[in-house]
């Protein structure tokens, strides 16, 4: 399943949102992966939505 996660870059380029596709088997897994990405790269998660 594909989920579209909208992140916000926090930092020098603070403010602008962008999205990435997360491929996971459930929304919970997608959320967990998005959290890992956000933590590792310093993003803020704005929303997660089912894509397609």
């Amino acid at each position: 399943m594909r989920f579209r996660v909208t992140f916000q870059f926090v930092g020098t380029a603070s403010g602008f949102p962008f999205y990435e596709i997360v491929y996971a088997d459930s929304e919970t897994s997608a959320k967990q992966i998005a959290e890992k990405v956000a933590k590792k790269f310093g993003y803020r998660i704005l929303k997660i939505e089912y894509f397609e």
């Binding site: 996660v5 870059f9 926090v10 930092g11 020098t12 380029a13 603070s14 403010g15 602008f16 962008f18 990435e20 596709i21 997360v22 491929y23 996971a24 088997d25 897994s29 997608a30 967990q32 992966i33 998005a34 890992k36 990405v37 590792k40 790269f41 310093g42």
Partner: protein, 456 residues
């Protein structure tokens, strides 16, 4: 001998400057002794004839400071400033720019006056620069011409048809003048819009042979009204871009102040990478202590990123020290000291690097050993060209390189861990473990996924 005589006065001023470093350290640590800044950025006007994709400053309108107002202000700071940057807007749209420089020189005798310009006013700039250089004999005048790409690509980024051609006319005229205290540089903003133009840009710089070449990352600034605009390249792209630029320019010969700026810039680019990675002040910031900015209508800011006024010169009878040492200024300094902000602002980082001299000592040998290499393919660079550059560089190591340059994965590959991938087109995806890699939804490629990170 030639080089030494060209930079003699700034060198003298540099020694004077270095002697002040411990005092600034004390000022930052314990608020004593009271020091006035050494690095001033004067935003002369917001008006601009460019419509850059990376800047919206031209939308602002204020009541600009007059020459007399600058005169009164700089009388109050005496000869403490070392470095002035006259920015804008387009500074040469001010018909009194020569008078402003004269006022600065008469009151402050700075070591350097730096004027960034889009160089479109080819019939005005050379004569103005000549007059400034002839008046400010003991100051190095640096004219930094903004070039973000070559030809019509530059015009597109700058929103100004014919800008590149006009800038080249100005550049040629300035070069022909050969004034001893004039440094002509090229200045490029690395943004999301010109990553694919870097190779052409560096080729152009090589052939143009400017006295200096510097780059700056496109930033979201309050001053430029760009907060929230998607102009900043991401960390991976920026690292690749700056490594590529440095690897190409490290063997170019620069002149005059360009020798110093390249030295400082090398450290600055390394700092930018660290700042983008860590998202914090990597070295203590001295904006608000050693550097400041004055807006066209007289607001004094510690820097243009925060764009926070600590007072208006018009309301303080043009007495700069009364603003600089006010309680409000102390509050903002406290916030900067507590690292409540961070940025990659180049101008402030010059003073930051100067005030943290250990950094300079630590990294000097790395330049001599050819530290800068092409560590990854610049975005959209042709594969064959990249290989050619790679082959010419002997030292290839470090784990990041393996990750960035390394293996490409194909669609339908599965992994034993959650991971994040990037396609050649720049699209990023995250994939749960056990899930097959898809084809890229953006460009349809099925075999160009590079592993960006394992998510554990």
């Amino acid at each position: 001998m030639g080089v030494l005589s060209e930079v003699a006065h700034p060198l003298n001023s540099v020694w004077k400057l270095i002697s002040q470093v411990p005092l600034f350290m004390l000022f930052r640590a314990v608020d004593w002794p009271k020091m006035l800044p050494i690095n001033y950025t004067l935003s002369l006007l917001y008006t601009c004839n460019s419509r850059c994709l990376t800047c919206n400053i031209w939308t602002k309108h204020v009541n600009n400071f007059s020459v007399d107002e600058y005169d009164a202000t700089f009388k109050s700071v005496g000869e403490t400033p070392f470095w002035f940057t006259l920015s804008g807007g387009e500074p040469f749209l001010r018909q009194d720019i020569v008078d402003i420089c004269k006022v600065i020189y008469r009151n402050c005798k700075p070591g350097i006056i730096n004027i960034p310009t889009n160089a479109s006013l080819y019939d005005v700039i050379p004569s103005a620069v000549e007059e400034i250089c002839k008046y400010c004999t003991e100051t190095q005048v640096v004219i930094n011409i903004s070039i973000d790409a070559v030809g019509t690509r530059h015009d597109w980024i700058r929103g100004f048809p014919g800008n590149f051609e006009k800038a080249m006319k100005t550049y040629k005229h300035l070069k022909e003048m050969s004034l001893p205290n004039l440094t002509i540089g090229i200045h490029s903003v690395i943004s999301r819009f010109n990553l694919e133009d870097l190779e052409d840009l560096v080729n152009f710089v090589e052939s143009a042979k400017p006295d200096s070449f510097i780059t700056e990352i496109a930033e979201e600034r309050i001053e430029l009204d760009t907060v929230g605009s998607p102009i900043t390249p991401n960390l991976m792209d920026y690292e690749a871009a700056i490594d590529y630029v440095m690897s190409r320019i490290q063997n170019m010969s620069f002149k005059k102040i360009g020798i110093f700026t390249r030295f400082f810039r090398g450290h600055y680019y390394e700092l930018v990478k660290q700042i983008l990675r860590k998202r914090e002040q990597v070295i203590p910031c001295y904006a608000g202590w050693a550097s400041c900015q004055i807006s066209p209508d007289g607001d004094v800011w510690p820097c243009c990123i925060r764009g926070q006024s600590i007072g208006n010169l018009r309301k303080h009878n043009y007495n700069f020290p009364s603003i600089w040492f006010s309680a409000h200024a102390r509050e903002i300094r406290n916030s900067i000291r507590k690292k409540e902000c961070y940025c990659t602002l180049a101008n402030a980082h010059y003073t930051n690097i100067l005030m943290n001299p250990l950094i300079l000592l630590k990294k000097v040998p790395r330049h001599n050993q050819g530290y800068y290499q092409v560590t990854s393919r610049p975005p959209f660079m042709r594969e064959a060209k990249f290989k050619q550059i790679q082959e010419s560089i002997m030292r290839i190591n470090n784990s990041r390189q393996e990750m960035v340059r390394g293996i490409r994965f194909k669609a339908d590959t599965t992994f034993e861990a959650d991971a994040r991938f990037k396609c050649l087109c720049g699209t990023r995806i995250s994939v749960q473990r056990g899930q097959p890699l898809p084809t890229c939804i953006q460009c349809g490629r099925a075999d160009w996924w590079r592993l960006e990170a394992v998510l554990e």
